[in-house]
């Protein structure tokens, strides 16, 4: 039996491979706080959303979490589930955000980053570390998400802008 590889499958694979490479590099950067990362791999998700729509972006994001987990040795660890819950939350947010007219990658990125952190935090608070003190950390984490979401959005918009111009 031969599986037919559609053009979209190949696109998803390419984008996911890119995102996983960035994810693995980033996973090795030291972080001052657990859960705080620039999230540059999500630039690829945003680019996928811009060019090919939500379906491709969702595939790229989930494949990145699973593939990154396998390569980084964190597959099925608490860190992996934090990453997965963040990815699912940010995808839900992006799905809603595509209904807002006039958003560029910057707006999408900020919304997705905040949702990612919120999803991650919800899992951490309800399952992994249900301590009221953790709530004190939430504003700091959300500030980091806002800053990194904004800067990631600028990168994504510059990238898709440059590539759109090169194609034109």
């Amino acid at each position: 039996m031969e599986l037919e590889v559609t053009e979209e499958d190949a696109r998803i694979a390419w984008l996911a491979a890119l995102a996983i490479a960035i994810h693995v590099v980033e996973a090795n950067l030291p972080s001052p706080l657990p859960g705080v990362k620039p999230g540059l791999a999500n630039v690829i998700t945003l680019a996928a959303l811009h060019w090919y729509g939500f379906g491709v972006a969702a595939w790229v994001s989930v494949l990145r979490v699973v593939g990154g987990g396998l390569l980084g040795g964190t597959f099925l660890s608490p860190g992996f589930f934090l990453s997965l819950s963040g990815a699912i939350a940010s995808l839900c947010m992006l799905r809603l955000a595509t209904a807002i007219p006039g958003l560029s990658s910057i707006g999408y990125s900020v919304l997705a980053a905040l949702a990612h952190m919120a999803g991650q935090f919800a899992l951490a608070y309800w399952v992994l570390l249900p301590h009221p003190g953790l709530l004190r950390l939430l504003p700091v984490l959300m500030t980091a998400a806002l800053v990194f979401g904004f800067s990631g959005g600028i990168i994504a918009r510059a990238m898709v802008g440059a590539m759109d111009r090169a194609q034109a």
């Binding site: 958003l103 560029s104 910057i106 992994l128 504003p139 959300m142 806002l146």
Partner: protein, 129 residues
């Protein structure tokens, strides 16, 4: 940046700012995890070989427990409990200090006396990954 982007970033800034107010502004209590968690908590005192008895941490006072070697004294204050005296040699029980949170535990093994703070649900001791 489009107009919609500016709107989103503005809303996000407002959300984060309100989180600071909500989380640090006092609506969660002045000491999250300290006094909050202590409300209505009891501690269980176990003396070797006997079923445990509970003491109410909401009422300040001293409790004397008869152990194998002699009396151990427990002090209850501000929803916490600690050993203040025990006839053992190393005084590890006293060095354990205040027990305030659910699951906190101290024991005087020579005297056979153990104290544990109870709560509605048993949490995890630690998570490491």
């Amino acid at each position: 940046m489009t107009a919609a982007d500016r709107w989103v970033v503005g809303a996000a800034l407002a959300l984060v700012a309100s989180l600071y107010v909500w989380s640090w502004g006092g609506s969660l209590g002045s000491d999250a995890g300290g006094s909050d968690a202590a409300a209505g908590v009891v501690a269980e005192v176990v003396v070797a070989g006997h079923p445990g008895e509970t003491i109410d941490l909401g009422r300040d006072g001293e409790v004397e427990v008869q152990g194998r070697m002699g009396p151990s004294r427990l002090l209850v204050q501000d929803g916490r409990v600690r050993f203040t005296a025990s006839p053992c040699r190393n005084k590890q029980c006293i060095r354990s200090g205040w027990l305030a949170h659910e699951g906190d535990f101290a024991a005087c093994l020579p005297n056979g006396v153990a104290v544990e703070v109870l709560g509605p649900e048993r949490g995890l001791d630690a998570i490491n990954y």
